[in-house]
């Protein structure tokens, strides 16, 4: 689904001076404040991006890392990528022992050369050189130097002096060299509270960061790049795999992308045009037409990732997609747009980040961004977005990979920013309705219906492809709190028009109730949450926590007790209310039946670190209340 991100691979050159530490490679001289709890410490880093030669980017990297354990090895990032438009001119690594004595030198020819095709991609022409080194003891220090030259200047790799979790930074320097007439635009974030030096001249900008303590990953914390200093930079003109590009404003940038990458790939054969025109000719309005064409697309094509033209940024021609019936996100969105052109509906090739954490395009940075493409369709004043890589997604449905974020629309007039569909708390609704009965042996049986809407819908889409055994196993895993469970009569109803998923099934659980003498003790709510729902504990949490999407999860249960038994004391209903969530239960007894309802609401938002303990306590209370039991006495 990803567009290949060229920027990912870092390019590199040996610099002579290890200026800060006077060539001190000993792990013993690291300040303990930087190494405490760290897998590695970035001792020294000097990254230079040289744009002074028109159409060329020369990247040099000199990096010294002290590695404390196996995990820390990844922080060395001793890797350099290349493809048809770029090459690695120099690459080397030197290993130093604890005392800082040189142990081993690894030359370019000893780096491993792999194709950099990830699992989801059928073909791409990227390759990487990777250091192949087995550490024999820790800690040790490694110096990695590399130099590379590329004909792509469109990606100015951002600077993050703290690049990974659990890694301290002693010194990191970042320089951008450019022609004085090419003005450099900069967006610097999260500098506050850090020791950062900034030097600017007409042809060079330099940032230096010193002594940054390691940062740890924390559950539901903002992404690392939102917690530590970062610099993003861009120019108004650039080259993409040798092709000149224009930026400056989103309008101009979008116009360039449209004209140079998209426009000439949209021709379709006359017969294809006639075919889609016939498909929609009797349909009343644009929405109906788009739906019909979208269905045509979903029935016809499949997703295959092939990254070749212009560094993987130009879509495969629409005519080829039609002939082969496959393509990647660019090709399929572009093909869909070509089909819509044929039926006279306006649509926009839409560039964005596909990412479950709602990563937006950085709208302050007018440059190549994004890793995914969808299609925005103009329906009246509204734009509906279509995911063209999915053969199952309902019309206009976004899901967690593409919802609620800033995106760039390419129009013939130029680029425009827009925002994708947002799912609010009341949209994201999960409802469980169950009617259950206990028999005199303590066995439970009943029927179960679960309805999923909004963001919950997306997690259900894969159920249909499971066979019967996998499907029952899925419920056994989901209802793991019910022992000796057996499920039957599973019926799945996928209502794509209303974007609603229903699951119906019958439950049967032996010895659901625990026998105590002649009496029974049984949970009112068989679908209660367990302790595993409680967020992890931190003795000293540092970061705020973010709830990306609000939702409602509701259980409605009728629980009938066996004949010859009566209900003992019943738990009191509760109502818990916090900024971030609320929880409410209702319990009514009607003869031999308990009517139980619980409503859990999670509120979207960013919450201060101080509230985290309350957030945990809230879940603890929910788990306790969810697990309330009925005492059922023999008459």
């Amino acid at each position: 689904m990803m567009i290949r991100t060229l920027a990912l691979f870092l390019f590199v050159t040996p610099l002579l001076a290890f200026s800060q530490n006077q060539e001190d490679f000993s792990a013993l001289s690291v300040d303990s404040a930087l190494s405490k709890g760290a897998d590695s410490v970035l001792r020294f880093e000097d990254i230079t991006l040289d744009f002074s030669d028109e159409g060329k980017l020369k990247t040099t990297i000199d990096r010294v890392v002290t590695v404390y354990n196996k995990t820390g090895m990844r922080d060395v990032r001793a890797i350099a990528g290349y493809d048809n438009n770029s090459k690695v001119t120099d690459i080397e690594a030197i290993i130093y022992d604890l005392m800082g004595n040189e142990q081993e030198k690894i030359k370019k020819r000893d780096f491993k050369d792999y194709s950099a095709v990830d699992g989801g991609t059928l073909y791409a022409d990227n390759r990487v050189l990777v250091l192949d080194y087995t550490p024999t003891r820790y800690p040790f220090t490694i110096r990695f130097t590399a130099e590379s030259v590329s004909e792509t200047t469109a990606f100015v790799r951002p600077w993050m002096p703290v690049f990974t979790y659990d890694s301290g930074t002693q010194y990191s320097k970042y320089s951008i060299i450019h022609k004085p007439e090419d003005s450099l635009h900069v967006k610097a974030t999260n500098f506050e509270g850090y020791d950062i030096e900034y030097i600017k001249t007409p042809e060079q900008s330099v940032w230096i960061a010193r002594d940054i303590k390691p940062v740890s990953y924390e559950y539901k914390s903002p992404a690392l790049d939102k917690r530590v200093p970062r610099v993003k930079a861009y120019f108004d003109k650039f080259y993409l795999a040798g092709v000149p590009g224009v930026g400056g404003t989103w309008e101009a940038f979008g116009k360039w992308m449209y004209d140079d990458l998209i426009k000439d790939t949209q021709q379709l054969d006359a017969s294809v045009i006639t075919e889609v025109q016939n498909l929609v000719k009797d349909l009343p309005d644009d929405e109906a037409k788009v739906k019909a064409v979208y269905q045509y697309l979903q029935d016809k094509v499949r997703y295959i990732s092939v990254q070749v033209e212009i560094g993987g940024w130009k879509p495969m021609p629409a005519a080829d997609v039609h002939r082969l019936s496959y393509g990647d996100c660019k090709a399929l969105s572009n093909y869909m747009q070509s089909l819509l052109n044929a039926v006279g509906v306006k649509s926009y090739y839409t560039v964005l980040y596909g990412d479950p954490d709602k990563e937006s395009l950085d709208t302050d940075v007018v440059a190549m961004q994004g890793n995914h493409v969808i299609l925005g369709v103009q329906l009246g004043d509204e734009i509906k977005f279509l995911e063209c890589t999915s053969q199952q997604s309902p019309f206009g449905y976004m899901g967690t990979f593409t919802d609620d974020r800033d995106v760039l629309l390419l129009t013939p007039e130029g680029g425009k920013l827009a925002r994708t569909t947002k799912y609010n708390q009341e949209d994201n609704f999960e409802q469980i309705v169950a009617h259950i009965e206990l028999d005199a042996e303590g066995n439970l049986q009943g029927d179960y219906t679960e309805t999923s809407k909004g963001i919950f819908y997306s997690s259900k889409m894969s159920l249909e492809s499971k066979d019967q055994k996998d499907l029952s196993d899925h419920y056994y895993e989901n209802f793991s709190g019910i022992k000796s469970l057996s499920v039957s009569d599973i019926k799945l109803q996928n209502d794509r028009d209303r974007v609603m998923y229903e699951e119906h099934l019958k439950l049967n659980a032996r010895n659901y109730a625990s026998k105590i003498g002649d009496d029974f003790l049984a949970k009112i709510n068989p679908f209660s949450w367990s302790n595993e729902m409680i967020p992890p504990r931190y003795t000293d949490r540092k970061s705020d926590f973010v709830i990306l999407r609000g939702h409602i999860r509701q259980h409605e249960i009728t629980f009938k007790i066996p004949e010859g038994y009566k209900l003992g004391a019943i738990a009191e209903p509760v109502a818990l209310e916090e900024d971030f969530a609320s929880y409410k239960t209702e319990i009514h007894v009607e003869g031999d039946t308990v009517n139980y309802k619980r409503i859990f609401k999670l509120n979207e938002g960013s919450y201060a670190v101080d509230a985290y303990e309350a957030y945990r306590d809230f879940y603890k209370n929910v788990v306790r209340e969810d697990n309330q039991k009925l005492f059922i006495e023999k008459l």
């Binding site: 709890g37 354990n69 196996k70 491993k112 050369d113 792999y114 194709s115 095709v117 059928l122 073909y123 390759r127 087995t134 550490p135 024999t136 003891r137 029935d299 016809k300 499949r302 295959i304 092939v306 080829d320 002939r323 082969l324 019936s325 496959y326 053969q391 492809s465 066979d467 019967q468 055994k469 029952s472 196993d473 056994y476 895993e477 793991s480 709190g481 022992k483 000796s484 469970l485 057996s486 010895n511 625990s514 105590i516 003498g517 003790l521 367990s530 302790n531 595993e532 409680i534 992890p536 504990r537 003795t539 003992g568 004391a569 603890k620 788990v623 306790r624 697990n627 039991k629 005492f631």
Partner: protein, 671 residues
Amino acid sequence: MRKITLAVLLMLNALIYGQDFRFGKVSEEELQEEAHPKDPDANAAVLYREQYSHIEYSPNDGFTLTTEIFQRIKIYNKDGFDWGTHVIPVFVGGAKDENVSNLRAVTYTLENGKIEEYKLGNDGIFKEERSKNFNVEKFTMPNLQPGCIVEFRYKFFSPYLSTIDKIRFQEEIPVNKAELTFESPEWLVFQLHRKGLFPLDIQEKNKADKINFTSRVGAYSAGLQGGSRGTLQSQSIDLMNKTYSIKVEDVPAMREEAFSSNIDNYRAAVSFELSYTKFPNEPIETVTSSWEAVCKTIYDSENFGGQLKSDRYFDDDIDEILRGVSDSKEKLVRIFEYAKRRMTWNGYLGIYADEGTRSAYKNGSGNSGDINLNLVNMLRYAGLDANPVILSTRDNGIPIFPTRNGFNHVIAGVVLDGNVLLMDATNKIGAVNLLEEGLLNWNGRLIREDGTSGWVSLNPSSHALENTMVNAEIDENFALNTKVRSQFTGHYGLRHRKNLGGKDEQEQLEAFEEKYSGIELNKIEIKNLENPYEPVQVSYDFAMENGVERVGDKVFISPLMHLASQETPFKSEQRQHPVDFGYPWKDRYIITIKLPEGYNVETLPENGIYTFGDDMGSFKYLISSTNNTIQVSTEMVINSSIITPDLYKGLKEFYTMVVSKENEKVVLIKI
């Protein structure tokens, strides 16, 4: 001639089965089929697969292997589209490269009752250089639609003859019909190995053939002008060809299942391995045929036996380490620990030394062959009866037949007082006779200095053991205050070393909180993580707020507290593959709970003993109470690390009873 016979055979098939399995002869009925008649859940099915592998001689290349593949695959729905993309691994960089040629592929669809064909073009074929010696050729079919059929055929040329590997007859989807023909000249004698439970009918026959070649006779050179280029002469040699053919029909799909070791152990497949060569007028040269022969071949290799010959590079170091030690066991442990310290595994498995023992020793790193052959060498130097033991890891599958490729790892084995002690110096946290779980795969083969060999069991003979003591007290607020002390021995110890080693106290605490969800530890203390010869000792204490339930004037206590299993791992109703626990194990818990003031025991769960199979597993539960305390002791034992599918129902039942017993409650009543 051969082509004609094949064609005739195929025609015959067509007559018998009513389906025409020639390329391009896809029928309307096949395209109309909406679901597999015997497996309606299947996303796709192999309608027909034909592989013809034959070894041929050419004067330029000598003997080479050509494989012709033809497949017809039905795709029922979108989830079956993965079967429209195929990947062929290609090894290159030797004297001659492998290659794929004559690739032809077509997608067939039914449109308005008419069969449409879409040919695979060059834009659907991709060649990728993965690494120096390994390329892949991939192709993805055009115009896939639910219900379509894809057909492809190609020739695969290989100069490598020693193994013709894993020809599968069983897939994740049903295979309706598959045929394999393998043909080799009588001079190259192959051994056929089969795998899986599906019966394979193997036909062998011999038929006469000829090898033609031309040679120059009378060529000589005499200066620039003269000389003679000789004359070309055709010659031919008569020989017999041996043919194996296998035909299968209606092979059911075999899908992945949880808790299995390696599904490839169960799939129907065959492979051929060159066992010896017998050329005219030359003596027989054995390659493989028996375990004995396989091991001899391996031992004779320069990268195996050849690595065990010199001790000059480490003798001083070992002398130093063994100074003053006379006990053999002590010597062994010292050398093993030294090898672990001295060399670090580079992550590559292999039975052969990659860098060479000497250089691995000097550089301090190497593959498993480098490190453990070094270990054997050092142990021998110290006068111990040490030998390499080759084995196949779980990921690699079980070596059922004598084959060189069946083994992928080597460790060291020492016979001491009649027992074999196994050691793997690639694992820094391992101990003598305590191997990483992935290595506990049936048997290994111990190869002696004279080239003879024998089996040694890799399965641990002793149980992994947990001993846990809990002291708990219910306070006046009905919170449970609990102190726990546990000891983990054998493989349990190894597992804890692996999971907890290198972590700080906070991370260790989190690991235990995750293991027993719902408890919050106040502190944790772990001993012996660095010493693999002692049990790992863990002490922690915690308060459990939800540990006790109150309903009216009654209090319900789950006496096993956090140690009670929350659920059984065996939820499926049926099982196709064995359940693999890895090693036998025993968990013992002793729990003492002090009751709150003003409460008496109303009911206690009953004592119980459950067993499973013929001494395969057991669970004991004993509970008693005195004035103000309850004491529970439980013991869960699994004696057999592998449970076959026929015993699955029993195992599931056993676990269900155990989980239910572990969750039974004590009821207290207010006085």
